[in-house]
């Protein structure tokens, strides 16, 4: 469903992605872990076509995502939803208006049908009580759920999550993890989750890949990561200060 072929990206003189290659199967929940600033979000933005690689090729559903025209990219993006770290809700619109926005802008359905779809997604993500609130008036967890609802109204085949549980309390994190697993079960959506919350990674991931120095140094099922022999991965998942990772 998603494939990176020798992707390299240099940002401000630093090689953030270094000849990165991996493949994500259809319906899989693929978790990317790694320290802050190792290029996890950059990887997601390449899948979404928000960044262009300096070298290499990115395939989404068999079609090339990089080096294409805006209209081709927009067509491919119909298959992709992106849940941003901050939620990225339009700040002058209510939660309900935010969720309805993609449908209204593209006039995909008649107004009654749009209202029904928005209601359904707000019910699914327990947002009904916040429908008339502005993004500044709701909690971080609600923002992420509203962002996910805005993604779901378009029925995407792929959902990209940037730190879906960061800044949330454990109960809210569990709810987000449950929603991610539910989506996989009910709609067989391919999901890519970027996180450094290991509990979340184990809870949702079919496979977990550790990004380090612009490359994937290990990609395995959650048990494989939990019992890894790789000293870098072991240090990262245990949060130890001692080990090969240069802490400072």
């Amino acid at each position: 469903m998603i494939e990176f072929r020798n992707v390299t990206k240099i940002l401000s003189g630093t090689k953030v992605l270094n000849n990165l290659s991996f493949k994500i199967e259809k319906g899989e929940t693929f978790v990317i872990i790694g320290r802050s600033g190792t290029g996890k979000t950059v990887t997601l933005k390449h899948i979404a076509g928000l960044l262009e690689p300096d070298n290499g090729q990115i395939l989404v559903d068999g079609e090339q995502m990089n080096g294409i025209s805006k209209s081709q990219r927009d067509r491919l993006r119909e298959k992709i939803g992106f849940v941003f770290q901050s939620g990225a809700l339009i700040n002058w619109m209510t939660v309900e208006e935010n969720i309805a926005l993609p449908l209204l802008e593209h006039k995909l359905y008649p107004p009654d049908e749009i209202k029904r779809i928005v209601e359904e997604k707000m019910d699914l993500l327990q947002l009904t009580s916040a429908r008339d609130k502005m993004p500044a008036e709701i909690s971080g967890g609600m923002k992420k759920r509203a962002s996910l609802a805005r993604v779901l109204v378009r029925n995407p085949q792929i959902i990209l999550y940037d730190e879906p549980t960061s800044g949330l309390d454990p109960v809210m994190s569990s709810l987000i993890n449950t929603i991610i697993n539910q989506l996989k079960k009910d709609y067989t959506i391919t999901q890519v989750v970027v996180t450094h919350d290991m509990d979340s990674a184990y809870a949702v991931g079919d496979r977990i890949a550790m990004l380090y120095d612009g490359k994937i140094i290990q990609c395995d099922e959650p048990d494989g990561i939990r019992n890894t022999d790789n000293p870098i991965v072991r240090q990262f998942i245990s949060g130890s200060l001692k080990g090969p990772i240069d802490v400072l």
Binding site: K45, R77, F82, S86, A88, L101
Partner: protein, 266 residues
């Protein structure tokens, strides 16, 4: 010591080069953005609510400050010129001078400056905040063009509102001039307005309004462009806002001169 001086000189030249390239890149970006706005202006009717909202922000919300500035601009002009003309008993000509100055240059210029400060800076800060908080990326992910959704309504709104505000500045500026002419220069309202209407030329009016129209499109495009290119969080938004105000101000001066030269030059 020599090495240090050499290093400083090289850095200085390098900074000039980098800044020059950045300015050229930004000018190119503004032009491309403007072309995209022209393309999306076909959706102006569809976006009429957003255009009206932006017109409200640009017009109604700046109404008081535009009124005060317009009134006092007329009063200052009348007083300065009237006091020079009074010894020659020619102070009645103040009406001619006021209306010619306002319609040709002062009204579009002063109104633009107010709208750059009050509206352009808000546009840059608003869109800059959206850029750094990934709202623009979110729009792109929904295949919603930020230019159609955000920039086009702002450009259309300011292109309509700046000429309207300029007409208002002309009107209020001439009233301000009339007040000073009556109370300070002993020129009756009748005489003052006879001179004002005598010098109210069609060409001066439409050239002034054309300037306002061009400034409106230019200021909003520059402000939105700076907002869309904001980086590095709050610091970047501040920088984008400052850049938008400075570059809009400079462009109003430069383009204002060329429009004047085009219509009145040799």
């Amino acid at each position: 010591m020599v090495e240090k001086i050499k290093h400083t000189v090289i850095n200085f030249i390098s900074d000039i080069g980098t800044n020059t390239l950045n300015i050229i890149a930004m000018m190119g970006y503004c032009m491309l953005l403007f072309l995209e706005v022209v393309y999306y202006s076909k959706a102006a009717f569809e976006k009429r609510r957003e255009i009206l909202k932006q017109m409200y922000y640009a017009g109604v919300k700046t109404f008081i400050v535009v009124s005060i500035v317009a009134l006092f601009t007329g009063m200052i002009l009348a007083l300065q010129t009237g006091l020079e003309l009074k010894p020659y008993q020619q102070q009645a000509l103040v009406g001619n001078i006021i209306i010619a100055t306002l319609t040709r240059e002062m009204a579009p210029f002063v109104t633009s400056i107010i709208l750059i400060a009050a509206v352009g800076s808000t546009m840059a800060a608003e869109i800059g905040t959206m850029t750094v908080s990934e709202e623009i990326d979110a729009l792109e992910m929904m295949a919603i063009s930020p230019v159609k959704f955000l920039v086009m309504p702002r450009v259309v709104a300011l292109a309509i509102m700046l000429p309207i505000a300029t007409i208002y500045t002309n009107l209020l500026g001439s009233i301000g001039g009339g007040i000073v002419a009556y109370f300070q220069l002993d020129v009756s309202f009748d005489v003052y307005y006879t001179h004002v209407l005598g010098s109210l030329h069609f060409k001066a009016t439409y050239v002034g309004l054309l300037k306002a129209f061009v400034f409106g499109m230019m200021v909003s495009t520059i402000s939105c462009a700076n907002g869309l290119r904001a980086t590095n969080g709050a610091l970047g938004v501040g920088k984008a806002t400052r850049n938008s105000v400075v570059s809009s101000f400079l462009m109003v001066l430069i383009v204002g001169y060329y429009i004047t030269a085009l219509f009145y030059g040799k």
